[in-house]
């Protein structure tokens, strides 16, 4: 059992792991760095400057970006609330009840939005909306987002619910024997980290979606990703890098919160 011969440490793996992180972060860091570049030309470094950030907030296109940001945030917020509610309810129904026949089918249905390729969902939703004369616009984006956010909200919630042992319910039932009370004072507090984590993931997923949004959006309604795409196709400009950096920071913030919440210990919650 000498460590030297243990399969736990394989030479070269640590280097590859570091390389993996470098690959994952290098492009993002480059964009971040260049968003502070004073030069108009993106290939030449012209000194540190916040001018591109100033331009996003106060420049000519500021209104467009602000509107897009507003749309993105309100859509993400509502989509996350609705999809988390649906996912939560489904998670209780699937995980917190005794085994039933269609259980696997239900789980498949809930993960369907991840399984169907995004381009297929996008086209199918667009044609469906167009056939039922559902006007494309803000609401059409919202509806589409709710659907594909469900599995992302479902996964952390169901994982959390699964980890809550039956004992708590049993003990509670001995004392109260009331479903409502069990739910409110035992299950809900225990599930809360999972619910918040699911909400945050759904929020980011909605905030970041490009393909489906670009298909189902209507006249004059842009979200940040579609607005960024519109600009970026014409060339990578420093102001877009600044905007991307901001969006990147928001996403990172949310994942970080979600990460710490999901680590919150069940026992701590109980005490």
């Amino acid at each position: 059992m000498t460590l030297a011969n243990s399969v736990r440490s394989i030479p070269g793996f640590s280097i590859l792991a570091v390389l993996c992180l470098v690959i994952l972060y290098a492009p993002l860091l480059v964009v971040m760095v260049y968003s502070f570049n004073d030069s108009v030309s993106i290939t030449i470094w012209g000194g540190f400057s916040l001018r591109w950030y100033e331009q996003i907030f106060f420049g000519l296109e500021a209104e467009k970006f602000q509107k897009a940001a507003w749309n993105s945030i309100t859509i993400a917020f509502m989509a996350a609330i609705v999809s988390t509610t649906i996912a939560f309810s489904a998670a209780v129904g699937v995980v917190r009840t005794s085994p039933f026949k269609g259980k696997n089918l239900n789980i498949s249905l809930l993960s369907l939005p991840i399984m169907v390729p995004e381009i297929v969902t996008a086209v199918a939703t667009l044609i469906f909306f167009s056939m039922i004369s559902f006007k494309l616009g803000y609401t059409s984006i919202l509806v589409a987002h709710i659907v594909f956010c469900i599995p992302f909200a479902y996964l952390p919630i169901s994982a959390r619910i699964q980890s809550i042992e039956k004992v708590y319910e049993e003990a509670a039932l001995d004392l109260y024997a009331n479903r409502k009370e069990i739910f409110r004072s035992i299950l809900l507090p225990l599930m809360l980290p999972g619910i918040i984590s699911g909400f945050l993931l759904a929020f980011i997923i909605s905030l970041d979606d490009f393909i489906i949004t670009s298909f189902v959006k209507g006249a004059g309604v842009e979200t940040l990703p579609t607005a960024i795409f519109g600009s970026i196709k014409q060339g990578i400009k420093p102001d877009i890098m600044a905007l991307s950096t901001l969006l990147l920071l928001v996403s990172t913030l949310f994942v970080t919160i979600s990460y710490f919440l999901s680590r919150a210990d069940i026992k701590n919650k109980l005490n």
Binding site: M1, A90, P117, I228
Partner: protein, 302 residues
Amino acid sequence: MTQVYKQKRAFDSLRIWLLLPSWVTIGIFLLIPVGLMLVISFMTKEFRGGVIWELSLAAYDQFLFDRGLFGDEPPTIQWTYIVIFLRSIVQAAIATFFCLLIGFPTAFFIATRDSRNRTFWIFLVTVPYWVNLLIRTVSLKFLIRDNGPINEFMISLGLISEPLGLINTNLAVQLGLFYSYLPFMVLPIYASVERFNFTFSEAAADLYADKWSTLRRIVLPIVAPGIAAGCILVFIPSLGAFLAPDLLGGAKNFMIGSLIEEQFKGNAGNWPFGAAASMILLTMVLIALMLYTRQQAKSELT
């Protein structure tokens, strides 16, 4: 015992009501639209976009058979679309391979750290995934373009004299897919290695097996389900990718995603054909998933 039984069913009577919202939402806004696409794929196309509601196999015929530029020659196998599908499969497979190449060692390395470091590493690997895919793809494009930082840097060091010419190639697309979905490979492998009981391997080490054969003979078979899950998670989204070929590949080598898009938003305007291509893509994904579940079920038995 009766008590446990009773409690387990605390929410049983509500089950239908609890599940109903998800059935309705996913049913109406995903199942019906996809079903509609299936129907449209068997309809007649309207010139310049739209559907005529008459049954027709033209879309699938167009996919499979080449009747010449004018549709009057005897049918031969239509390679155009098969090539596009094969290219997508190959691109996705290469991306998956590279993800595995980097992802497995990374996951293995992380899973063998102590538990504090472990979660931090996993956190580091996950963060980029949550950054907008569009931004990540564009960042990569910026990084590898002919006069982008990588080429400038290598030229200034004298490592190369000409830019590498990566942009607008198949390699750039593979790189893009690899970069987009790398975290998907690391996570499931990590999860399976973490559960791995290292006393097995240490028993093997005692028998003087060297590290590599221990890894191959003992670790690999046990973490295989994790590897399979990682491959599925990378392969499936790569197959329908749309941004990478457009932004990194110069939009000149169609993948399935771009082919479908072109039928609804581009020049071609052939809805039934776009629907048929979508259905074929969906079928491929479902087959991949079925193979995966069968493999998982098998490995659970052993």
